[in-house]
């Protein structure tokens, strides 16, 4: 490949990544911040995610869902950082804070979410917060689609029980 063609290909790859960054960057940053700790490491993790994606541009082109693939890379980067730097995830504080006059059931749901197993919580967040499909969540987490569905159903049943039981007690 001549130098000019190589430069053009390089420029094309950078533009494609920039476009993906504009489209999914915010969701990735929120996910990293929520799942893997404080803000500064989350931005570093996001940059590392982009660099990993830049090392394998053919994977981005081949992916059925580039968004799911980016989430998978972000998760791998965050997991590695967690193991290496021992960042403690501050999950309860990252839930939307209680506001005065809000629905009292909201606090019960927050507590129920905090009590969920990490795998269920992560799956629930990817579906309800980031609006990933079952297939995209399966790609991001590296698990079968059936497992994704089963985890989400289990999580929603637990939340429903937390709401309805409290309602029954208060009634």
């Amino acid at each position: 490949m001549t130098d000019r063609r190589a430069e053009r290909a390089l420029g094309q790859n950078v533009r494609e990544l920039a476009s993906l960054y504009r489209e999914h960057g915010a969701a990735l940053l929120t996910y990293l911040r929520r799942s893997f700790g404080r803000v500064e490491p989350a931005e570093d993790l996001l940059q590392e995610t982009l660099l990993q994606a830049a090392r394998r541009p053919e994977r981005v082109a081949e992916a059925v869902s580039p968004r799911a693939w980016l989430f998978a890379v972000a998760r791998r980067v965050g997991t590695t950082a967690l193991r290496r730097r021992r960042i403690v995830a501050e999950l309860p504080a990252d839930l939307a804070a209680a506001e005065p006059g809000e629905d009292p059931r909201l606090e019960r749901v927050r507590q129920a979410i905090a009590r969920l197993a990490p795998a269920l919580r992560e799956t629930l967040e990817l579906r309800l917060r980031h609006e990933l499909s079952y297939e995209e969540i399966a790609t991001a987490l590296g698990i079968p689609v059936g497992t994704v569905r089963s985890r989400l159903h289990h999580a929603v049943r637990r939340l429903r029980n937390a709401v309805t039981i409290e309602d029954a007690e208060s009634a």
């Binding site: 960057g25 940059q47 660099l51 309800l128």
Partner: protein, 201 residues
Amino acid sequence: MTPEMLDRLLLDRALGVLGPEACALLSAYLERDAEAARRATEFETATMLARRALGASATTELPPFPAAAIERVQRTQRRLVLVRNVAALAACVLIGVGVGNWTARESPRPASPIQLTPAGPAATYVTGGPATESNSGFWSAQRLYEESASKKRKPSMRLEWDSPLQRPKTAYQNPAREGGAMWPGTGVPGSVRRFTLGGAT
């Protein structure tokens, strides 16, 4: 429809992954089943509250896109791929040369190499003329003559029948001797073979 199957459909609808046609069919079913409709409402309330508790993917301020770092990484990747390809090619060539050398060492060599001699007088005997350029070289008449002359030839049998009143005699001609001296012969060199009417004795 079993209760487990119905529950799975209700949960899928609450999570927002059920298609529009399936949703419409499910809604029609729920109109006739009050208990199922109540469960559907509970699931949808739980997911709605969970969405609010988790907070929608807020508009976060993104750091700038690290274009320079990405270009640097991609150039390094390209160089690594080139180096890897060149190393693989070099390894193939080395393996090929190594295998070639090994097979050459294993195969037997001739005892003495064929030596090409310049054209000489024998070439004149064969061609009837002086040695010329066409008489030298690998396929020259000179070389072929010398090779055939150096080969040992089997003695050839010759039949001598001087008179019909006498039995024929065979003899072996020794090609190595000058003039081809005859051996009186039977079936083997150095013996005479006599023919009888019934067959050879």
